[in-house]
Symmetry: C2
Subunit: 456 residues, 2 copies
């Protein structure tokens, strides 16, 4: 990275941005320099002191271009940020400089044939709420839907609620186009379309600033929010898998957590009995009867059944906020010594392996399964909790998972490649050379860039 050698006069820098809103208050700057990195005891150590020098909040793409121009001239790094709901330190500015708060870019354009053009900073909850009356809803979203932005989800996430129908975001057909501002003396606005969008998807904003997206929406349905209980986790896992595979039952979420993890879901404690495992589902209203029939046959019971309107009117915690990374969040609220893993069990006989792992680790690794689609087939993702003792023990568990054929996506690293594919995506790296030649965007996150000789 070619950071400027002379210390920057940040108030003067803020002045140079004219009417573009900025924030220099240390506490507020630190607050907007963080995400949920503290889910990981490893990252909690490593990223504790990280802070930007200034928060800049562009109001539109022209502002983004103006900020880039000023920053490039002074070699100031920029770390783009949505709502900061990631949990790998994706949007934490390792080298200080500017955190570019994009939530002002929140325009929703009219939906055309189920395609929404939307500013990167638009909140997912807002998109869902505004599109639903028009007959459309998000294809997928993270458990942080209430606050997360679409740009942050695309740049830092991979899938979530809805992935049981549409697979992950990187599959062709969901991310249709993106506008990206380059980090250059004369910033360009590039329009990526189709598979090109994967150059900036899940790249943590290291190789371009996403200002706008075109995403395929799903036709809206009325969803019933189900929490169900089984006294046996294996039978719950089988039932959840069966629902995930039931082509005639319309659904949006199929989650199974064992009793150890379910015990942390505080808002459900008056409804779950001790030792019960919990299944968490979003089922289309039209499919709730066949879903309950199947539940009866499998020996489970309905613990909570709410319509979307009932959730709204009662303020109940929506089911999806018990799933994906929110399961971990509920655990952390009770026990700061808990952390988690992200993994994928190999199919199609994953349930046997789930049972073996659950038995082997017992209460040290409370099990948490999320069923999704991968290449047209149902797959079993797992975000088990881990009762954390030492990093060495955590690494030993990861190594054991991998020995058993389970793919682990390490959530205890802020390095792009180490969390995912274990190798640099050559397209993402090539795009960074093109769009961020001096390596000023979110520096320190893309190993493939840092390992190459520094460019001229």
């Amino acid at each position: 990275m070619n950071a400027s050698s002379a210390p920057t006069d940040w108030p003067a820098f803020a002045e140079s941005l004219g009417a573009i809103p900025t924030e220099l208050d240390r506490a507020l700057v630190r607050q907007k320099s963080r995400d949920f990195y503290w889910y990981s005891p490893v990252l909690k150590q490593q990223l504790r002191g990280v802070s930007a020098d200034i928060i800049v909040a562009p109001r539109d793409e022209a502002d983004v271009i103006a900020v880039v121009r000023e920053c490039f001239a002074r070699r100031i790094p920029i770390t783009p940020r949505g709502a900061g709901t990631g949990n790998y330190g994706q949007a934490m500015p390792l080298h200080g400089g500017v955190v570019l708060d994009l939530i002002g870019l929140n325009t929703l354009h009219p939906i055309l044939d189920g395609v929404l053009r939307v500013g990167a900073g638009a909140k997912l909850g807002e998109i869902e709420a505004r599109c639903k009356p028009l007959g459309w809803e998000l294809r997928m979203f993270p458990s942080t839907r209430r606050t997360a932005t679409i740009g942050g989800f695309v740049a830092g996430g991979s899938g979530g609620i809805g992935s049981i129908n549409f697979g992950q975001m990187r599959e062709a057909g969901t991310l249709l186009a993106a506008r990206v501002v380059t980090m250059e003396a004369k910033p360009r606005v590039l329009r990526l379309r189709g598979a090109e969008v994967n150059r900036v998807h899940h790249a943590y904003g290291t190789n371009g600033i996403i200002t706008e997206l075109e995403i395929a929406m799903a036709p809206a349905q009325s969803w019933m929010d189900f929490v169900v209980a089984f006294d046996n986790f294996t039978r719950l896992a089988e039932f959840t898998d069966r629902v995930a595979r039931a082509d005639g039952i319309a659904k949006r979420l199929c989650t199974a957590v064992d009793s150890g993890a379910a015990a942390y879901l505080k808002p459900l404690q008056d409804k779950l009995r001790a030792g019960e495992s919990a299944g968490i589902f979003l089922i289309a209203a039209q499919s709730s009867a066949p879903f309950e029939d199947a539940l009866d046959r499998a020996g489970g019971r309905v613990v909570r059944r709410l319509t979307e309107a009932e959730i709204e009117s009662t303020g109940a915690v929506p089911a999806y906020e018990f799933t994906w990374n929110h399961t971990t969040l509920h655990a952390l609220k009770v026990d700061r010594d808990v952390t988690y893993l992200q993994s994928r069990f190999p199919g199609p006989d994953y349930l046997d392996l789930v049972a073996r792992v659950a038995e082997h680790y017992g209460d040290e690794v409370p099990m948490h399964l999320e069923f999704i689609r991968v290449d047209g087939e149902v797959a079993c993702a797992a975000l088990p909790l881990v009762r954390y003792t030492t990093e060495a023990r955590l690494r030993a568990i990861i190594a054991d998972f991998e020995r058993r054929g389970i793919t682990v996506f390490d959530p205890h690293t802020y390095v792009l490649e180490d969390g995912g594919m274990k190798q640099t995506d050559p397209e993402q790296l090539a795009f960074k050379r093109h769009a961020d030649p001096l390596g000023l965007l979110n520096p320190g996150k893309m190993r493939g860039w840092d390992e190459q000789s520094s460019p001229a």
Copy 2:
């Protein structure tokens, strides 16, 4: 069957039905006693002379009950019928008597949360047309959508266009409830719900008269009608399979026919080049760009691309009328010596077996694949054409398919069990004992009934 020994005076019988419409004209009665049984040269021989004695067209369920009462008293068999678009002789009255034309029971009730309550005689095309503006469409339909009825589809069919998303009708969640009139002295109206509906689904009307259904609908989308061409069938099959598995590409139909079958699709002959295989797809408008991107990469070309509005305004043949049993129909229009098979290739490596079978039989068995979902996975159904010589040769081909592990659903039999599961569904048989104790409904079709000792 306990048919009456004295010959029935049909005009007097018609008189006894009062205001319920009847038809005694021999030509018209014969016409309404037939379906597309002539797709099969075997059935064409066997069923040539089959005719009812009278057509009775109830206007509502009360009429159905009145007809049943009269028929039961005289031991007259009743064969319920929708539009007669089946092709196994499902609705052909082997023992004469009454053909009960149910198209008058065509009420559509308001859709509630995506569930439609509808009279058995409602036409599928009418359901689609009337529900679409309300935001709903059929989950699945046969290629005879323009004329077929929902009751006929449920009683005589199994799946079709849309099964790539929702699997087959028998999967839990699509057929939610049915009203069924029993064949007794005092006819009862039974309300079946959930899995109970499978007692009368695909039972050919042998064990009850379906008067009304509750079906789960799909949220409506705008569909693009694609015909694509490949000069190599194997590459087309691979591409079609890839689209079928692409979770991010919203679709409703994935069909591949080789050049031998494609040559029969007359409305496409000015667009397909000699020797080209044809892929036929319904792709959501929002997914047409990623679909075409994938097509480009696979080396195919778009032959025809139409919106639903363009099909309506130009009167073009909709893509789905080139698929499923309509592929066979197009062939038969050109060559009366062609027939077909219905089969399922075993997964997940079905494409290898498809290639081997295609190579082995060459032009004798032009290949036709339909991709569907079964238990949450993409499966490869096939309705290959067969250049018919003798029944012995046809049976030899079926036996060879079965030796290769391909499941064949014989379309050359009117016997319920022989076309499908090869065994009597005990629930269907038990229900017949209950709902048709004298065996007067569509007699001769359920082997399991005929093989048991005749009831008292």
